[in-house]
Amino acid sequence: MQKIGKQTIKFDTPPTILETACIVGPKEANGPLAKFFDQCLDDEFWGESTWEKAESKIIKETVNTLISKSGISPAEIDYCFAGDLLNQCISSSFGLRDSNVPYFGIFGACSTFVEGLSLAAIFAEGFANNVLCATSSHFCSAEKQFRFPLELGNQRPPTAQWTVTGAGSAIVTKEGNGPFITYITPGKIVDMGIKDANSMGAAMAPAALDTLITHFKDTGRKPSYYDVIVTGDLGYIGKEILSDLAKQEGFDIKQNYDDCGVLIFDKEQQDTHSGGSGCACCGSVFSGYFFNQLRNKKIKNILLIATGALMNATSSQQGESIPGIAHAISIEL
């Protein structure tokens, strides 16, 4: 493990992503990627009395599914990184409180999945054998915390994004047969002064651009090296901004670039405006769809850039702009 270039970490003995799992809510189950998810829920409560409890249950059951799929016993998991969007990361801590695994709660807004995956990879190359990372989000609990009550009859602007209900998780192991985590490029906080909380894609795109360019400069790779470059939840507008800005900087990513928030919903049928968002957006699309593609050798490598908007309800009421962050991780066979 060494630092190369400005901020990229290169793994000398790349750790393997052993297994992934994801559970999603009813709306995602009607989306185009439904068949790749491990479990789709029929309702957003999943038998619980509150959305917060439901979200905890989703992350808990996702981790249980992951452990049973991976075939290793819970006792063999050395550490766990988990986070979500709710205040003080209660979904993750409450969901995993009975798991008996040493636990690090992390917060990177919607970039949490790759943040967790990066830390897990660093631990795995260092001294741990199996490290778990998990993340969740829930449309209803996120709306309640960040926006308005569900029953309020307001209109969502075309730039708004739809928080994905679900959870994604992965186990990273020291030794394995791939897919390998070869590079990670942790991102800087970039704030271009966007204040509109309904325009997250635009707020996060500059951070994604910074990480993208830094990754290519640090590794010496070109955009064409990757079969797929995928961002977490920039949505339709952020996706267009990123590919436009990247081109202006001399990196043409149009050919192989996509966004999890764009992939997870059918924009016309599901009325999701600018696409999906939330921790589970990147988490479930990677765990469900892209990991499947890697494992079936449909793609050989992927650059996953999870994006996050580091704001809360108080900061936006106080008129603060929205700082963005993006972490990139290179996963190859």
Partner: protein, 156 residues
């Protein structure tokens, strides 16, 4: 090719505004117009009926408010009002129905935090400012009237 949009925050904001699709304002306005007009017309019909039954105009106005608020609360409880609101926008927000919806929806939302601090405490998270500003302004109006003993328009 335009100048680099990431140079300053102002340039980026302009660039983003340019990239973001606008709300379908014409369609929204048409929907808001006829739904809003319809809600007011329902109020007018109720008002006429009350008047013809011999209620004073103050009482009739209050009856209209209570009936519209009741309907709005009922539809909110049936999970229907948010769909009307999504379709009509300001058409259902601006009439008293929108006020009722903004009281009822947080009450339902925060039920999970209990009836006292959840429902009771959070009921006015959206509509509270309406009462604060409305009542404060009305007190100012009353005090000004008390001092000048006239309404401004009659001065002209």
């Amino acid at each position: 090719m335009q100048a680099k949009p990431l140079e300053t925050k102002k340039q980026y904001q302009e660039y983003v505004n340019d990239k973001s699709p606008n709300s379908p304002i014409l369609k929204n306005c048409i929907n808001a117009f006829w739904v809003g007009g319809l809600i007011c017309s329902i109020g007018q019909i109720v008002l006429n009926i009350c008047n013809s039954r011999g209620f004073s105009s103050e009482i009739s106005g209050t009856i209209v408010s209570i009936i519209l608020i009741g309907i709005s609360a009922f539809l909110t409880g049936l999970n229907i009002f948010n769909r009307i609101g999504k379709f009509a926008g300001a058409g259902s927000l601006i009439p008293i129905t929108g006020f009722a919806n903004s009281v009822v929806s947080p009450a339902m939302e925060y039920k999970s935090e209990g009836y006292v601090m959840g429902v009771g405490g959070k009921m006015f998270t959206v509509a509270g400012p309406v009462l604060v500003f409305g009542i404060s302004t009305s007190i100012l109006v009353g005090l000004i009237y008390l001092i000048f003993n006239t309404q401004a328009i009659t001065l002209v």
